[in-house]
Symmetry: C2
Subunit: 570 residues, 2 copies
């Protein structure tokens, strides 16, 4: 029996062509499993099959019904693969038929990845309503701005209504307060009609601390590996086949049922998998199959803190076949160059020479000793094209992990803000903006949660205080549990029409337009580039060329006028 047998069992409640529900549950260590439909006196017995799967085909459950699984005749729990949790993480699952959505994006074809200009959105704070529907109202604005892809921070159901999304506990369920699964489908459809791709941030390395009922169903976690969030997700231990299937199906679902164009996989360095086939590689292989069936194109982008191009190398080179990765090191080098204090992880970055190295080599550390990491770090990624790297001057983490959540524009002079924006948008790598940066939104993006477990809420509050104890003189860390912290983090949509915001917005539009239309900026890769920097004058020259055209970017990070020599290119 090889793993193709798993194709017989796709966990979840699906409705077949005759309208019957086909229920599959994976619960390898329970003795009895039933479905309990809310509000009716219905109990559906599941039959144990091989490998710990339980199944039933039944008329007793219909789309829209609320249900739970009852395990061993006792505990009643929502479905691990529920698509909707209308009453939150502790409530019942709602049976959903995702095919019911009527798509009208038939003319959409995903952009080439090289043409992605990303725009990171936190649904809850992007608009005052904080919903998918309200994002749709901003699509014309985004289209005019020129970005080609929005990236949604995680939308998997989390406790309460305020969360960055990384505390999600139901990877298949779309946050009810954002608009649920139908709301997400509607948004993606609308984006595609505006020629905008949609990237979804998904978290396969941990689950949140409240409402994670997966361990009741099976060994989803293993004590073999420890991560910052405790036991690692079980990708290679006993019973890992069910867990691997779970996350592979999750990835495929977004592409297939939600028409998502790319996934951004959170912190894949915390995915611990010594299997012969790494789970990311297997997701790649399964996605390739799906793409060849549908003819659609989808991308896999990873957040990776390893400087290890095994993740982005193609399958045939033994890589995991991810299309692209974030490079935080570009950000760190840029920020230090722009004046950020060299503390914490910034301590490894020494300004303009490192920024030049980031342009040249993508990885700043590709074998050197890192004082911060206390080891030699990284390998060379010379052969990986520019389109495999995503760069930014800020993102949710880099902003929100500051005590006061200041966006970069709160920290820099007006001229430096412009320079930093250009550094990203004129780079050969794929640029990403963080929502609102294009009009230098003054509101912070703070860390906020709305755990319903009061003890947990208190411990997050205390943890946050402790984390920033050294910054006491700068004031108290805002209370992450308070609704005020969330509300303070919202964008102010009246600002882009006011000065100085509108000037900056126009500047961003020009830069983006230039990137999309100039033959060099549009086409030149990593090999058609030369970077030189001068530590004394704090200047950097970025030369890029394509065929007979050349672009020379002169960047002066000092606060004075400087003379810059433009090196000759042979």
């Amino acid at each position: 029996m090889d793993s193709s047998i798993l194709n017989k069992y796709k966990p979840g409640v699906r409705f077949n062509s005759t309208g019957q529900a086909e229920i599959v549950l994976w619960a390898p260590e329970v003795q009895k499993a039933e479905v309990v439909v809310s509000g009716r006196d219905e109990t559906i017995s599941l039959t144990r099959q091989e490998l710990g799967y339980w199944t039933a085909t039944t008329d007793k459950i219909k789309p829209g019904d609320l249900y739970k699984f009852r395990l061993n005749g006792e505990k009643e729990l929502s479905d691990p693969v529920s698509l909707s949790l209308p009453e939150g993480v502790h409530g019942p699952s709602k049976a959903v038929k995702p095919d019911d959505f009527v798509w009208s994006d038939g003319n959409w074809y995903n952009h080439p990845l090289d043409e992605y200009i990303l725009y990171e959105i936190h649904t809850g704070t992007f608009t005052s309503e904080g919903t998918f529907a309200s994002i749709e109202e901003k699509l014309d604005y985004l289209k005019e701005l020129g970005i080609t892809a929005i990236e949604l921070m995680p939308v998997a159901q989390f406790p309460g209504e305020r969360n960055w999304g990384y505390d999600g506990v139901a990877p298949f369920a779309v946050q009810n307060s954002y608009g649920g699964p139908e709301g997400l489908q509607h948004l993606v459809n609308a984006c595609h009609r505006k020629n905008i791709a949609v990237i979804l941030d998904v978290v396969y390395n941990h689950l949140g601390p409240e409402g994670n009922y997966l361990p009741e169903f099976g060994p989803y976690f293993t004590s073999k590996y420890n991560t910052p969030w405790g036991n690692a997700v079980n990708f290679d231990d006993e019973y890992s086949y069910g867990v691997r299937q779970y996350f592979i199906e999750n990835a495929l679902m977004w592409f297939r049922d939600f028409h998502i164009d790319a996934l951004r996989l959170d912190a894949v360095h915390a995915i611990k998998d010594f299997s012969p086939t790494h789970i990311l590689r297997e997701i790649r292989m399964e996605l390739d199959k799906l793409m060849s069936e549908t003819g659609r194109k989808h991308y896999l982008i990873v957040e990776l803190d390893l400087n290890d191009n095994r993740f982005i190398n193609p399958l045939e080179k033994g890589g995991y076949g991810m299309d692209a990765q974030w490079i935080d090191e570009f950000h760190h080098a840029l920020r230090v160059t722009a004046g950020e204090e060299q503390t914490g992880y910034y301590s490894d970055f020494h300004g303009i020479t490192h920024l030049a190295k980031a342009y040249q080599d993508a990885y700043v550390y590709d074998g050197q000793f890192s004082e911060h990491r206390k080891k030699f770090f990284g390998i060379k990624a010379d052969e990986n094209p520019a389109g495999q790297f995503i760069v930014f001057s800020q993102n949710h983490d880099q902003v929100g992990n500051r005590m006061c959540g200041e966006r970069i524009n709160r920290l820099l002079s007006f001229e430096m803000k412009k320079l930093v924006a250009a550094s990203v948008l004129l780079s050969p790598y794929l640029p990403m903006l963080f929502m609102g940066e294009e009009w230098v939104e003054p509101n912070p993006f703070l860390y906020f949660v709305s755990h319903t477990d009061p003890q947990l809420a208190e411990s997050v509050r205390e943890g946050r205080k402790e984390e920033f104890a050294d910054f006491h003189e700068q004031g108290e860390a805002p209370d992450p549990v308070s609704e005020k912290t969330f509300l303070q983090s919202k964008l102010q949509w009246h600002l882009p029409g006011q000065e100085p915001h509108s000037t900056v917005l126009n500047y961003y539009k020009k830069l983006i337009s230039l990137r999309k239309t100039h033959p060099v900026l549009k086409n030149a890769g990593r090999k058609e580039m030369r970077v030189s920097s001068d530590q004394t004058t704090e200047t950097l020259v970025l030369q890029r060329w394509y065929e007979n055209s050349m672009v020379v970017c002169l960047m002066n990070f000092s606060e004075k006028e400087q003379q810059i020599m433009i090196p000759e290119i042979k």
Copy 2:
């Protein structure tokens, strides 16, 4: 600063050409480090260098001197890279100059790996003396038997005088009671003069529970990963550069200073390393450099419980470049076919069809579901040649991990013993014998330790009892701490001259000779082979061919006469 800087610092006490001692210590988190020479009032101060290295060049220590490091002016500890611990694991290090040994193996050139016929030896129980010197006295016997390589179970210093070797705590020190480093050099030299290669078993996945002082010097272990022995050796966390250097230098030392021909790396599946370059791959790369400098040939063999040919695939295919691996699955399939009860890990093996699969595919599980492991296990290894796999009908583990340490011959009929021996020696894989099997030694090979920490000794004793609680009716588990258990495990060298032992010995000699001389047995690989089996008659036909010759092995594992059809080969 890249990792080539580490070449400046090779930990240990070395004597340069002027006779001065060059002392290097890696202790990145201590504030002060000195050397204290025993019996003299000498204290040598070490100077802190970069990356946590401490150095001194001095006349105050000579070969033969006993010394310890004093850390922070307090604790006195033996050298982590000491080559000799004449007073045991808790005593001082002895300064050794390994170059002083006068080698006379200049005519030796390592056998091609394909010609290895391995013979596993536990130094302490191989002879009544239990020393390297006494192994030398048996070399003529071994040469006559026909084996081409001896494999020494680990010789790194362990607590006391009785241990399998896997409780070693000083990876660079050769067990004093076996004869210390000079004794090992003398043995290897003698082997080479008899045209016998020497494989050394080394343990890089854990250290023993008594006398492990490494954590006092630096973060040699990490809590990121858990292994059966607790925290994993730190190959990828903070400070891992020092730990990686430690084990790389260890591997190179055996080849360079002891002329060891191959290492057998214990349980490499328990080495947890997510670095861009896996430590095994790095050892391979460093060994390749050494080999190109010396012109000598050395092999890396791994014990691997993963059925993952990434370990043995060449570097250019993204593999770790190990030359060969043990396949326990051949053993398990063979043992079940020969009548072993299908319990524990044997429960995954179903007799003759699995034995046929082991011949054909090396890995029995190459993607199938394993009930014992509770997951789909293994990948295909079709392209790996036969010479990359080591097979056996017993080894120290398979014998010693039984409650009463019975060798296979205590469990099988006389005819079955012969069949089992032939199954191994006529296979296309590299065969390994366990010392004494060739004369069906009746003494057991038991589990024994001689920890000097009484609490630890007691807990090992209790653990062993518990492990075999289910076998109560077969008697008590022998006391692992008792010297009697050790003495009972010794080979009885008067037996090979007596019947029925001498008949079996002659049979082994004939089989080995056949393997070495017959054109098919000598040359045919995995592709020139066909295996068929019949579950009903319990028979297996192994056909191997080379050029115009063919060998047909008819194996009847039933207790009756059987008719066997020889399939036609096209």
